[in-house]
Subunit: 131 residues, 6 copies
Amino acid sequence: MATLGLIEYADASPEVKAVYDDIMTSRQTDYINNFWKALAHDPGSLRRTWESVKQVMAPGALDSLTKEMVYLAVSTTNQCGYCIASHTAAARKAGMSDKQFAELMAVVGMANETNRLVSGYQVEIDERFRT
Amino acid sequence: MATLGLIEYADASPEVKAVYDDIMTSRQTDYINNFWKALAHDPGSLRRTWESVKQVMAPGALDSLTKEMVYLAVSTTNQCGYCIASHTAAARKAGMSDKQFAELMAVVGMANETNRLVSGYQVEIDERFRT
Amino acid sequence: MATLGLIEYADASPEVKAVYDDIMTSRQTDYINNFWKALAHDPGSLRRTWESVKQVMAPGALDSLTKEMVYLAVSTTNQCGYCIASHTAAARKAGMSDKQFAELMAVVGMANETNRLVSGYQVEIDERFRT
Amino acid sequence: MATLGLIEYADASPEVKAVYDDIMTSRQTDYINNFWKALAHDPGSLRRTWESVKQVMAPGALDSLTKEMVYLAVSTTNQCGYCIASHTAAARKAGMSDKQFAELMAVVGMANETNRLVSGYQVEIDERFRT
Amino acid sequence: MATLGLIEYADASPEVKAVYDDIMTSRQTDYINNFWKALAHDPGSLRRTWESVKQVMAPGALDSLTKEMVYLAVSTTNQCGYCIASHTAAARKAGMSDKQFAELMAVVGMANETNRLVSGYQVEIDERFRT
Amino acid sequence: MATLGLIEYADASPEVKAVYDDIMTSRQTDYINNFWKALAHDPGSLRRTWESVKQVMAPGALDSLTKEMVYLAVSTTNQCGYCIASHTAAARKAGMSDKQFAELMAVVGMANETNRLVSGYQVEIDERFRT
């Protein structure tokens, strides 16, 4: 169970409700993830984290699907079970196909492998990669 | 310096030269990264790793730019200096703009933050995210 | 289930019992965590690890609460489920309030984010930070 | 060198200058770290990250020194060279003594060790630690 | 449940069945792990990964037991629950005793501790360790 | 430079000198690594860490070479530059050949790859791997 428990909409303070409302409006859903309900015990963190996520994940130079796949790639590298589950769902909602998922995982796996080969062999950075 | 040193093209065995040639042809370059030159001390690993990278990074359901940005996202999460330098170069070659780079970093940073918030608050996976 | 199972007090060798007794006395409790019961299959590791934990976690220049919160911060960064659960309990026992917990998590999250921003942007260490 | 280079105060846009000014005022210094100068290429990220850091690191239920030491503990666990250097400086400025530093490192080391022992032995979470 | 589900032998395509058959023959077992059944949704990744694992884990300059213990050491450091469980089983099948397991864990724990002490104290590499 | 600097033998307190002497005797060398010289600012940590390393790395059910290679595998996974450099030297001193090093790196790379594939595909632990 979450350390401080989950705060349901009905039990939320007006400050928390305002964030919940914005999440639901922005994401066009009537569902609030457990993550936000857990974070709601600290309304300042809830608001700051949500505002940051909303700003960072908005389509810009990168589209929403790419951003969700990058989020999933990081969560997989960190092996965060909750994040993998929730961002797999989010990436699918943004249009990720099974084939895209499989290719994404292949890149994530390969990068994790070569990151260690490079470190273990103590390879020096090529002069041309020094910006 | 690399643990086993770097093997230059002129000093390479025919087996290693064949991989070097394929890298240069596939990437349309006459440059071989230090990574491959370090790995060349183990020709079997060199061939296997190169064949895997070539297969995984080929455009498919995901294009080359997306794959390079995911590679960079993983390398940044793992904080692998060499990999960040070389895959920043590769992503730029594949077309990554400064603005795309900045948005990529923002997503990587945010994912690393929320991965820990979720874990630290011990948030349970929502029923609907269990596939 | 733990790889080698758990050794209960009643089934423990005198050597293991002596460590269990010291844990209970030092912590003023009659409870032994599963961690120690799992480690008890290797009495040498059990003793060494317990002696180290006891020495490191004793109040000194840092008080017990600070030390427990640092332990929790590290465990959260590593996303170790068991460690987060047990050290949340330990930190609370040492006096951590819900508000302190929430601020702790906020710092942990922020540090994990900026660690990657710094690495990904390949920021050089400022001259004045080189000791 | 930083991927996008560093933006000095004199060359900064008014939007970036405003953040730099706030950093210098808040920290009572005339020095801007390379981190902010690198991030300044993305003024939105610069502002968002600085506002978050300022909010999170402000003394509250935890004092500034504790927060800086937690930041250092996370950076050490992640092995982020820049972050270790800059937050060691920041923690010292907030009052960290050499003895506190040494005890902090001892806790960080111990937590990283036991995190793996727990995971490797596959220890189940004690019923009483499930909140 | 696995993101894309598991593909059982009876439901597998000839391409996937061929890999399953090779796994069973090479490992002298009639059992296919869930890992392969999950990966089978991407037959190219399944084949590539299996071929790589088969090549890398074959006895050579290092014997099978040593390789399995190294695999377990890495999985423990990364805290991958599935991998710890499956490679503990594999290492035991290769002959790992309880005493070897306990010593392995002790080394893994110690290395994770000193890795952070070195990083946190910002220790410079000794001249003689620069190859 | 190391955060607190390095303490040379000539400048060491009797307590630190005693540890230095034991390191040199145990390792049959007249050289003290920078790691110990950095840690010497906290004589309690120096003694505890050295005693632990000495106990854990002593040949037992696993020989010295295997233990050094496991240490290197962990350090490579964590990408600790100092530790990779010093434990590559230690493993070589214990007899590691270039071929063993290359096979070790191949296993480390592969494990880091499959750890993420397993996590990303959300593969459930096989019933038979639950001990």
